[in-house]
Symmetry: C2
Subunit: 468 residues, 2 copies
């Protein structure tokens, strides 16, 4: 198993630091093994670790207090949201405090006329959308998991809607952040665009909590479309599926979602959800717009699919059918892990220029044929982003080695196509070498920024860069 | 006139530095008054200044050479593109070298299947679009002026298409940049999205050349829409015009452009272009899509306009008519300056949440009623961004004082509505105090980044922050 994150003996927090924490936060500081263990654990394949304490923050002022305390006592500080990070971004591998943000879950202001909302970072995307629905608005970024908005901002999350609505990079209008010196800043006001100085918003989005603690997020919203229609279509070939999506984009079809699932993924989805989709490469689509616009989109994409070896183009605008369809897509990870009892999941992702996606997936499938561990592929065709998910035997070190070297080949294949080592999962613990392979000298510029903003390496140590 | 930028005696470049420059770059180094003066001059209201030398770079390697030379000899370095900056961002106010990038104007690679292009920074947006047209692609960001792509990236430019296609923040996929230590980095590869480390692309976009010299830009492209239709509609009230656009956005109409021009701006446009538009608040629209989609958009917006006090909704899909319409909009600045012979232009911009735009423009018009200098208003309704343009008598200091205090009131009005002091012009020389008013402590974080990446303050000194 991955050596990073193994637990080494640590002295824990000093009595003085504990006393200060306890007197300010009382029962919202926990030193119990159960709570610490929960915050040192990740859904994915990284080894568990233990923070010295877990603090449940409820206000920005408390975050300021904790940051100042950590600065004064040289304690490491790692923020924790819903624990859904895939690359171990929230694991407190150097101990210290795990700052649980999930109780900062208030929706502060919905500005319906401005199409924006300001939330605390512990709000989850589903809770937010439930809150917004009555006002005819929605927040589109959808990574599958019910992650917190703070976590999604920190990993620059995206997901199935990004082809139309963008990622967290586009969705975040501004942040309130507590910096390493315990000051709180606002990175932007609520205007949709600004040319006022450096783009600090985009700097903290995707920084994986290594530059500061996000305590408020202002998000751009969209009107709920008049009509939403989903469709499923299986294809003879991967190329046919990818070409269908690229041609649709060329024709200006405003696809809301365009997801690809390979034959193995469809098999896993069928087994997991007791479904009976054909076990072939399949596209899942969603179309948003007026009735006339959606009708036209469906017709255009239907024709393209037929011309590219697509089968029956089954579509539905019923909310229940749509939701069961997307449930199948969203459960792709669990469906794959569930292929073997007692297995552990390992998900990786890369992103390439969209014209190279079919080639990249095809080569990856050929590569997978020689790997003994069961694996599936699914992805966001319109962005050139796809995932490979493995179902690993936790007791078989050879499987872990196989997947590790496969992952290295996958990254190097994506880089050779001018792509990136991660489209949406982040660097975390797992892709630090890949980041250097991808961006070289630019990583030193990132380090300069890290040192300037967090000179003592307090925030989320060991992430993005091996040594902060 | 603005005191910043006044020329103080300087020793100029050392003989050693001149010798090194001359021997590497020969006639592409100029010390003549005419060339230096051209590079120390701005279209707008800032005082002229003089660089000690102008260097015309042709390759990234030459930029590396110049940056290293400047670092070794403690020479200030300011990049220059098309000289269209509105806030004086390209003025070499501390002397040193003006690095003219306009000869780095090659279009390096068009990746039609990936919808992206890589260009040198001296390519202008019109040249780029002329080159792309045959491939059915276009680059949407359109600030009016035929700016260079490097300059547009550096000021985070946007313009009339941003409501649909975003600004340079969204358009730039990656940059090649020469940093202060003379190293070249690439901030990203060509994937549409990435979660690989800090978002250096977005950090350099909008940094106004204070963090490095951009030598290549990879841009996201869009397919040329099947149908493009423009429309003009005048309104009884500002509120009616703004409400029309907001309701259209609420209904999910994918407006490609939605521009507002006030009565004074329409008068200036009529005089300048010998046109006869009604001299009332007017919206200029553009719709992109399939014929069916555009027909539906036009119908919806036409109904909304009628319900909000709009007059006749005159539309055109003929390329010539459209181009004369948008010429009128794009010449708004010259039309206003031209209201008085011999006048100097002063353009400012702010951006507010879109629901506050009508209120902000209305208050601004009331404020303008008490200003003696002729002024017009135009803006990008769908973004909440508008401009006030003045036609100033260069010999009347009282007019400059009037405009300066008006500008301060405008900024403070926008900030009171949770907007920004500049939506697209940048900070440059003119809005440094406004930036501090807007973002407070966050400006100190920007300074930390500046010091980390350019510790000696070599790049574009005196911009964004008063003292680098």
């Amino acid at each position: 198993m991955n050596a990073v994150g193994e637990i080494s003996p640590r002295p824990g927090l000093s009595a003085e630091a504990r006393k200060a924490l306890d007197s300010r936060l009382g029962e919202r500081v926990s030193y119990t093994e159960a709570v610490r263990s929960q915050h040192g654990h990740s859904e994915t394949h990284f080894a568990s670790c233990l923070p010295d304490a877990v603090v449940f923050a409820e206000t920005t002022e408390e975050v300021v207090f904790v940051v100042r305390l950590c600065a004064a006592h040289d304690i490491k500080l790692t923020a924790y949201g819903a624990g859904t990070s895939i690359e171990g971004s929230a694991l407190p591998i150097a101990g210290g405090i795990s700052l649980d943000m999930s109780r900062m879950n208030r929706i502060l202001t919905v500005n319906a006329d401005d199409f924006d909302v300001t939330v605390e970072p512990g709000v989850t995307r589903i809770a937010l959308n439930n809150h917004l629905r009555d006002q005819g608005l929605f927040f589109p970024v959808d990574p599958g998991a019910d992650a917190t908005i703070g976590g999604m901002a920190s990993t620059r999350a995206s997901g199935t809607n990004a082809v139309r609505y963008g990622t967290m990079r586009e969705a975040v209008l501004g942040l309130r952040v507590v910096t390493a010196d315990g000051r709180e800043i606002r990175t932007a006001r609520r205007a949709r665009k600004s040319a006022a100085g450096y783009d600090l918003t985009r700097l903290f989005v995707g920084a994986e909590g290594t530059l500061g603690i996000i305590t408020e997020v202002t998000l751009r919203l969209h009107p709920i479309p008049e009509v939403i229609t989903s469709a499923v279509c299986n294809f003879e070939t991967l190329e046919g599926a990818a070409t269908t999506v690229i041609q649709a984009i060329q024709l200006g079809v405003p696809l809301a979602r365009a997801e690809i699932l390979d034959d193995m993924q469809m098999r896993a989805v069928n087994l997991w959800g007791k479904l009976d989709y054909p076990e072939q490469t399949t596209l899942f689509f969603e179309f948003h717009g007026s009735q006339a616009s959606v009708d036209e989109q469906v017709a255009t994409v239907g024709e393209l699919a037929a011309a590219n070896g697509g089968g029956e183009f089954a579509w539905s605008s019923l909310a229940e059918e749509r939701s069961s369809l997307w449930k199948a897509r969203h459960e792709a990870y669990y469906a794959t892990v569930g292929l073997r009892p007692g297995a552990v999941g390992w998900a990786t992702d890369v992103c390439v220029p969209i014209g190279r996606l079919a080639e990249c997936i095809s080569e990856t499938k050929r590569d997978l044929a020689a790997v003994s561990v069961p694996a599936t592929i699914c992805g966001h065709v319109g962005d050139g982003n796809f995932h490979v998910i493995f179902s690993l035997d936790p007791e078989a070190p050879s499987e872990w080695e196989e997947v590790e070297s496969f992952n290295a080949r996958l990254v190097s294949r994506a880089l050779s196509m001018e792509g990136t080592c991660t489209g949406e999962h982040g660097i975390g613990l797992g892709k630090q070498d890949a980041l250097v392979d991808e961006l070289g000298e630019a990583v030193n510029v990132m380090r300069l920024i890290k040192h300037a903003l967090d000179p003592r390496g307090m925030f989320n140590p060991g992430k993005i860069f091996a040594a902060n």
